[in-house]
Subunit: 348 residues, 2 copies
């Protein structure tokens, strides 16, 4: 592990000073940090984590790697990148119903630019503080701009939001709105970067991981009032495909096109284009979850309680296979479960 | 988190098939794996870890990012890369005295090459099996070849091998031999890749993390018979500098040049070149540790017990500052605590 403290005894060469610089951006003074979650934090070969706070709780762990030109445009606002790199991991913890506690950061960059690093650190620390998650270690190196984060949360396995518990008859729910971030990506790829609506750019750059909603859903899951969940990072249809594949055999999904919660920034688009962005876009970082019909009241009561985020019932699970999209006039079409694929060739 | 299972319902496009391919290399059948360490492994938004096995044990966590052209040559044997990417993390766990339990893998590559992936997976799985550490999740993406691993181990915090416990009067010890890997790097950088001795290449490509030795040292540390430890990844002098910096103020180190355990492959070199590679090379992945003089017998009795690895007493800590290298004739020189720096410009 590469995060440690300055070497006091040796004169720093220019290269070492540059390397030190990076560490200093991430090793904050105790007073600037949230209450520590680790017994031993930054500065040793490993960090040592405190035991989870609840007696039945265990650690959930997730990792995500963000690469320039694939997951973000190389000219991204570094503060937004710091935010987003942590946000996508917090979204995975949220989709498990886990409370964030600690993370490690691996950062490769071509050279150490002080302003860039300061902004990146501001973005990541602000989100970390909001969710009381502590940076306990990391590694920095030269290389193509890449951000790898591994995050840990605490969850009671009995209430964890798993992918593999969806059942025939479940309602399909999704938090927030869909398609805003995908619009920003589509406009940039079409060479219309100058005309990306600010609201769409904000969806893309500043996703808000649904941590508190995930915790509330886990409480419902403990009593069988929520069955399964996944976060929507690579498009609703693709993630729904993952849920079906992991859960019991013979499970299909019916989606009502008119119920899908389009982000307001999609309003000016033709309905077909809205659908494409909502179903096969990406970077939404909303929670997709399934629950028995009897739990509708409890779930609707969650709407707006967490950062004002909505929850929308947009379909149901039924005996069958694959995804079916149903229009208001009753016409149906099979839906490919494809989403954003990183080996698909179309890159940022 | 990007590791999950195939989508059963949708026809795979070529791109998705390629993406799936990768997952398949890492999601092994239960029968091929060591006993699971996780309550929930690959395939969900997060993995969920079982509680540590000992009542006083906690999780140690470490992360390392390996970038092509910086940490390894782009033409590296993929099986060796798989081994080494995990080995450097196991080395951090060893330096903490932690028993490996689980890891997550983040992998970026320009395109998915089946043969390359199969070899990489063979290398990483073989080392994982040897140390009974389970792959519980990961993320794969396109991008410049990069391997990020976060590993967890179990350790009793009271016996953990910390960097900050070194004291005046401690003996300095190091496991194994030094400089072999650095010779291979130096020869490659000098354009003599064709003449790298096989033994040196092996040091570079197949480091053997000192996990069992670390566990034995932690048992001694629980009784105050070992004080501090760090793993030697960026050169002995540099790592010793880290130890001094983290421990009590006013601590200096004296190294006896004739006692440093040169790797046999260095024999043909001039003594000054041997010293340079041993002190300021890198990629040794040996354990550097300090212990009271009264513990010499116990430590010497460890020699050869773990993979036949030696332990060598090569210096001592004293009141002072910085590092002093002492030759057999009594002459002394101050030693810069520099090691391999990733922002130093000299890359693979």
């Amino acid at each position: 592990m590469g995060f440690s403290c300055a070497q006091a005894s040796a004169p720093l060469t220019a290269a070492m000073a540059e390397f030190e610089l990076i560490r200093r951006f991430f090793a904050r003074s105790a007073s600037a940090c949230p209450p520590p979650q680790a017994l031993l934090g930054i500065g040793d070969d490993c960090a040592i984590l405190a035991a989870p706070k609840g007696p039945n709780e265990r650690f959930a762990i997730t990792t995500d790697l963000l690469v320039a030109g694939v997951h973000f445009f190389a000219d991204v606002d570094p503060q937004a990148l710091g935010h987003k790199a942590l946000a996508v991991n917090l979204s995975d913890l949220a989709a498990m119903g886990a409370r964030p506690v600690a993370y490690v950061l691996a950062l490769a960059m071509p050279h150490a630019n002080e302003d860039w690093l300061a902004a990146f650190a501001r973005g990541i620390h602000a989100l970390a503080d909001r969710h009381q998650i502590e940076l306990v270690g990391g590694d920095t190196t030269s290389g193509p701009l890449t951000v790898g984060i591994t995050a840990l949360g605490e969850v009671d396995p009995a209430s964890a939001l798993r992918r593999d518990r969806a059942r025939v008859g479940d309602d399909l729910w999704v938090s927030g709105t869909l398609g805003g971030a995908a619009l920003a990506v589509a406009e940039r790829r079409a060479g219309r970067g100058h005309s990306v609506p600010l609201a769409a750019q904000r969806c893309l750059d500043w996703p808000n991981p649904r941590v508190d909603l995930g915790l509330a859903l886990a409480q419902l899951a403990a009593h069988g009032r929520v069955h399964a969940a996944i976060d929507v990072s690579d498009g609703l249809a693709s993630e729904l495909g993952h849920l079906l594949q992991r859960s019991e055999p013979g499970l299909g999904a019916r989606l009502w096109s008119s119920r899908l919660p389009a982000d307001p920034v999609l309003q000016a688009l033709a309905p077909i284009d809205q659908l494409e962005l909502m179903l096969h876009g990406g970077d939404d970082y909303e929670l997709l979850f399934t629950a028995p019909a009897s739990a509708r009241g409890e779930i609707e009561s969650l709407a707006g309680r967490f950062d004002g985020v909505a929850v929308t019932r947009f379909g149901m699970l039924e005996a069958g296979s694959g995804l079916v999209l149903e229009a208001p006039d009753g016409t149906q079409r099979a839906l490919p479960a494809r989403g954003f694929e990183h080996f698909g060739g179309a890159e940022c």
